[in-house]
């Protein structure tokens, strides 16, 4: 039990690579929370994928005991939040669990779009924000320029920004002092009924589901019976602990404190980020505001490369879903790809992370179909259906109109690439909302259809700007547009996994690009293969793969038989990477690569 005045709760806001995790490591180290010999880089990113990609997917927390220069002992709780737009809701909950933020900006790179989105979340949550300029010891560091940029772009006073080098440890004591003296202590009423926020939860092989909480009011103790206000479920607390970052049992947690509990909860799915935890017997009257159930926005099909792996895939998806409430799945049957799952994700990164984990942790080879957004189809009878898969598009005679999700995209880019960015957004049916400059960097905001962004927008953005642009978005709502389903026929047979929703005005362009790509991706066969893109019964683009005329070994004698047989055996392996469609074999890569546009 710690006095409110001696608690400081904070998060770190930073762009990827700007040094968030390194700073967290240094804070852990210099407060003696973890002995030097136990330090490994990026202690808080626990999943391999997190460490590899340098991103945080799950919120993590660490409790630091710090003796300040004023001689007082403080408890500092750092919540390391997910840094990506896909997890914006999770970020917003984490932000509500703390009172202040460190805004870490690379002193040579400056402010990026992602930094902005997260810093606005912190401002929305009412945080006190301490700017920290990192990598100050690099020759390219320009602290004055970056200070001015923080003031111009974000509107924060950066005159007393803390200058550090997280890598070398320079300035770390100043950061700790700034946390104590510049960030506010939490508020709360120890005598009020228990009100705690469920910040995050995860599955631990030994403990079962672990729930991270922030106590707002009241006191929570081991053995208490608690109620989850959104789900209504009631549990008895088996274990109460703080993370240092390993679990250390604690008897109780009072207002302002952050810790974890276990309560024989079977599945992570049974917990909801943002839920309010209270006592069963003496509950609080109102849950905390802002709770939202997870809502997938991007869908794609996941199919096993080897059809025999379907059961293994089902197993893996079920296991993964236990630990990730934000990801949805249902069985899907594709004529081209066989049995698989239609899965819903919070965004593209979430999709990639889940797919990577399935492939890596469960050793599966997967075919990923083109990501699709959720369309709203308004039927002539007045009903509305959600379309998650273009293959399910109903007969047009019953459809009144379609609406698609739109986003507000924020892109920051050196001004020399601005023209390319504007063209890219324009090509993707974007509407410019805003264009401002800060130094030689432009910040441009666009209203864009999400379906133009989900696939390769980010790749294109990076390639046209040589990686200098940063990008973030939020979903703003649905709008009607002239959308049609484009089907693709290979050898006169429709391939459901390649059908997609497109804007009518862009259909021909996309159809042309698609059939040209497929012509490159599908190997020649012994017969010629027509490839067509069509809307309804009307063909809008066509290519033909000519028949192979000659493929034969000139010499084949006694010494060649073994080599040739082994070559055929090798081709059996290659064939596993192909999908038989009618008489045509389509390489699995084609299903995703066919959709990549060059513009």
């Amino acid at each position: 039990m710690t006095q409110l005045s001696h608690i400081r709760n904070f998060s770190i806001v930073a762009h990827i690579d700007h040094g968030k995790s390194t700073l967290a490591d240094r804070l852990i180290q210099s407060t003696g929370t973890v002995a030097d010999r136990d330090m490994k880089a990026q202690l808080l990113d626990s999943m391999d994928i997190e460490r590899e990609r340098g991103i945080t997917i799950k919120a993590n927390t660490v409790r630091l005991d710090y003796k300040a220069k004023d001689g007082q002992h403080y408890v500092l709780n750092l919540i390391d939040t997910p840094g990506h737009v896909d997890f914006a809701y999770e970020v917003s909950r984490s932000m509500r669990a703390v009172e202040g933020s460190l805004l870490v900006v690379d002193a040579s790179q400056g402010v990026e779009a992602q930094t902005l989105a997260n810093v606005y979340q912190a401002i929305d949550a009412g945080h006190e924000i301490v700017p920290v300029l990192n990598k100050i010891d690099l020759p390219a560091a320009e602290p004055d320029r970056v200070r001015a940029q923080i003031e111009d772009v974000i509107g924060l006073d950066a005159s007393d920004a803390v200058l550090i080098s997280a890598k070398s440890g320079l300035g770390i004591p100043d950061v700790l002092e700034a946390i104590v003296h510049r960030l506010p202590a939490p508020k709360g009423d120890r005598n009020a009924p228990l009100k705690a926020m469920l910040v995050d939860s995860w599955y631990d092989a030994y403990l079962g589901v672990v729930v991270m909480i922030r106590v707002m009011d009241g006191v929570i103790r081991k053995g208490d019976r608690i109620r989850m206000m959104q789900t209504g479920a009631i549990y008895g607390i088996d274990k109460l602990a703080v993370l240092k970052p390993q679990m250390v049992d604690i008897a109780e947690l009072g207002p302002g404190e952050i810790g974890v509990l276990t309560a024989s909860i079977k599945q992570v799915r049974d917990t909801r980020v943002g839920d309010t935890i209270t006592h069963e017997k003496k509950p609080c009257d109102q849950p905390l505001p802002g709770f939202k159930p997870a809502q997938p926005v991007v869908f794609c099909g996941l199919f096993p490369v080897d059809a025999n792996d379907f059961e293994a895939l089902r197993d893996a998806i079920e296991k993964l879903a236990l630990n990730d409430a934000s990801f949805s799945y249902e069985m899907e049957t594709s004529a081209a790809l066989g049995f698989g799952f239609r899965c819903g994700f919070l965004g593209l990164l979430h999709l990639e992370v889940v797919r990577d984990r399935l492939e890596r942790e469960y050793d599966l080879d997967l075919i990923t179909t083109a990501p699709s957004v959720v369309y709203h189809i308004y039927m002539r009878d007045g009903s509305m259906m959600e379309l998650h898969n273009p293959a399910d598009m109903p007969d047009l005679t019953h459809v009144d109109h379609l609406e698609e999700p739109r986003i507000k995209a924020t892109i920051m880019v050196p001004d020399e690439y601005l023209g390319d960015i504007l063209k890219l957004c324009q090509d993707r049916r974007g509407i410019q909302l805003n264009l401002t400059y800060a130094g030689n960097r432009a910040m441009v905001e666009y209203d864009l259809p999400l379906n133009e962004v989900v696939f390769d927008f980010y790749d294109r953005l990076k390639s046209v700007t040589k990686g200098y642009a940063s990008f973030d978005y939020q979903i703003t709502g649905y709008r009607e547009d002239d959308l049609v389903k484009m089907s693709v026929l290979v050898n006169d047979e429709p391939v459901d996994a390649l059908s997609m929703m497109v804007h009518r005005a862009r259909a021909e362009l996309r159809g042309r690009a698609m059939v040209e790509k497929l012509k490159e991706l599908i190997p020649r066969h012994m017969f010629k293969i027509p490839i067509q893109a069509a809307i309804g019964g009307r063909v809008i683009a066509r290519e033909t793969i000519s028949a192979m005329r000659k493929d034969v070994t000139a010499k084949c004698y006694g010494g060649d038989a073994t080599r040739k047989r082994k070559l055929l055996d090798k081709q059996k392996e290659g064939k596993k990477r192909m999908r038989q469609f009618g008489k045509v074999e389509i390489p699995q890569q084609a299903f995703i690569n066919a959709l990549k546009m060059d513009s």
């Binding site: 012994m526 000659k550 493929d551 070994t553 000139a554 010499k555 084949c556 038989a561 073994t562 047989r565």
Partner: protein, 404 residues
């Protein structure tokens, strides 16, 4: 089209009741002897050949004899239908060495009455001088690596002889042997359809009984492959021209009375290479010499064997262990079926369907066969499955359909 419809009968394996004999006996039994040395390495060749000036032929003969005795101990009570000296350049062997090897073989197995004994020879005047010696040693067929009939292309192919020299060597060979075959390589750099028609007509005017006509293939690990990948091997024919060159070859040879009995081999009926038919018809063969491969059916199991490739390593192994065999791998029913298809569909006569099904131990891939017949790549006639001319041109793809 008449040509496609008609299946050559001359070289099909006879219907055999396999209740009484083993599968390999359909193809017969042959011995391949590999001489691994050349005077120089040709830039297109990926065979196991080495350039060496210090060769003790007595030492090699002893090793060959040891290997032959070892092989004979494993394969008693067979007769040999064919012996083939390949290389490398076997015409660098002394006639005494060839004689010694053949003597060893005759001591080891009874020879078939019509045994074919072939030796590959380079058409140089030096080697022409040894031809009589080979004949006296027992060789009854030579296969000459003429490769081209114009000097410019011969130089590009790295050959050490001129066209004139080659023709003279050919005439010498004809005067000594009843059966002389020669090889030509076509689809060469810058070769037009008219060029090849002219050159092939000239070759046919020499009235050979057997011709091996290979389209130039760029094999990995050769000098040509190196140049090819650097973009320095220009003027190779595109696919359409390669198809036209192949078709012209079929037409000209057929008209001259030498139809293709195999993808790249043409013969007057009755003059087919019996040795190579052993390979294509799934017979057994013993491989003797560095890098030589074999197929041996022993106690009902068929093995793929291979000898050490490196000449020094092979010699040492034979001396130490009595055999230069490096690997011996049992073949599954699936493997044997695959090899029968791979080899047998190269023949105009194709394969016996009953035999293929027996070998596989289960039904043939009916749907694939049906589709390929529909596409005009395969045909069935008299219980035999064969590739059409169109099918032979894409035989690798046909085999992928059937076997992969």
């Amino acid at each position: 089209m008449k040509r496609r419809a008609r299946l050559a009968k001359t070289c099909t394996d006879a219907k055999v009741d396999l209740g009484e004999v083993e599968d390999w006996q359909v193809g017969g039994f042959a011995i391949y002897v590999h001489w691994p040395f050349c005077l120089s390495k040709c830039p297109y060749c990926d065979f196991n050949s080495h350039v060496s000036s210090q060769i003790d032929q007595k030492e090699w003969l002893d090793a060959y004899r040891l290997e032959i005795d070892n092989l004979a101990a494993e394969t008693p009570s067979r007769s040999v239908q064919s012996v083939y000296f390949g290389g490398g350049t076997p015409s660098l062997m002394l006639p005494e060495t060839v004689e010694g090897v053949l003597d060893g073989i005759r001591r080891a197995w009874p020879a078939a009455n019509d045994i074919e004994i072939t030796l590959e020879a380079n058409p140089t005047s030096v080697e022409a001088g040894r031809l009589q010696g080979y004949r006296d040693a027992g060789v009854n067929r030579v296969s000459m690596g003429i490769q081209a009939l114009n000097d410019q292309d011969l130089r590009k192919l790295g050959r050490m002889h001129t066209a004139k020299e080659a023709l003279a060597a050919y005439e010498t060979a004809r005067s000594i042997f009843d059966r002389v075959s020669f090889d030509l390589i076509y689809a060469r750099q810058g070769q037009s359809l008219a060029d090849w028609r002219g050159e092939l007509s000239q070759a046919l005017d020499l009235s050979p009984d057997h011709l091996s006509l290979y389209q130039l293939t760029i094999e990995e690990g050769t000098v040509f492959a190196e140049r090819y990948h650097k973009g320095q091997l220009r003027g190779l024919p595109d696919e359409d021209l390669a198809v036209d060159l192949f078709s012209a070859t079929q037409d000209l040879c057929e008209a001259a009375g030498l139809p293709a009995y195999e993808l790249s081999n043409h013969a007057r009926p009755g003059q087919e290479s019996r040795h190579n038919l052993v390979y294509w018809q799934g017979g057994d063969y013993g491989g003797v010499g560095p890098g030589a491969h074999g197929r041996l059916t022993l106690d009902g199991t068929r093995y793929a064997t291979a000898q050490w490739s490196n000449p020094a390593a092979w010699l040492q192994a034979v001396r130490a262990a009595g055999t230069g065999q490096r690997t011996r791998e049992p073949l599954s029913a699936e493997d044997r079926f695959a090899e029968l298809m791979m080899m047998g569909l190269r023949l105009r006569g194709g394969i016996d369907l009953d035999r293929a099904a027996r070998l596989r131990g289960e039904d043939l891939p009916q749907r694939q066969i049906h589709d390929l017949i529909e596409m005009g790549k395969l045909q069935i006639s008299d219980g035999r499955l064969a590739a059409t001319e169109e099918g032979r041109l894409v035989l690798n793809a046909v085999l992928r359909e059937l076997l992969v």
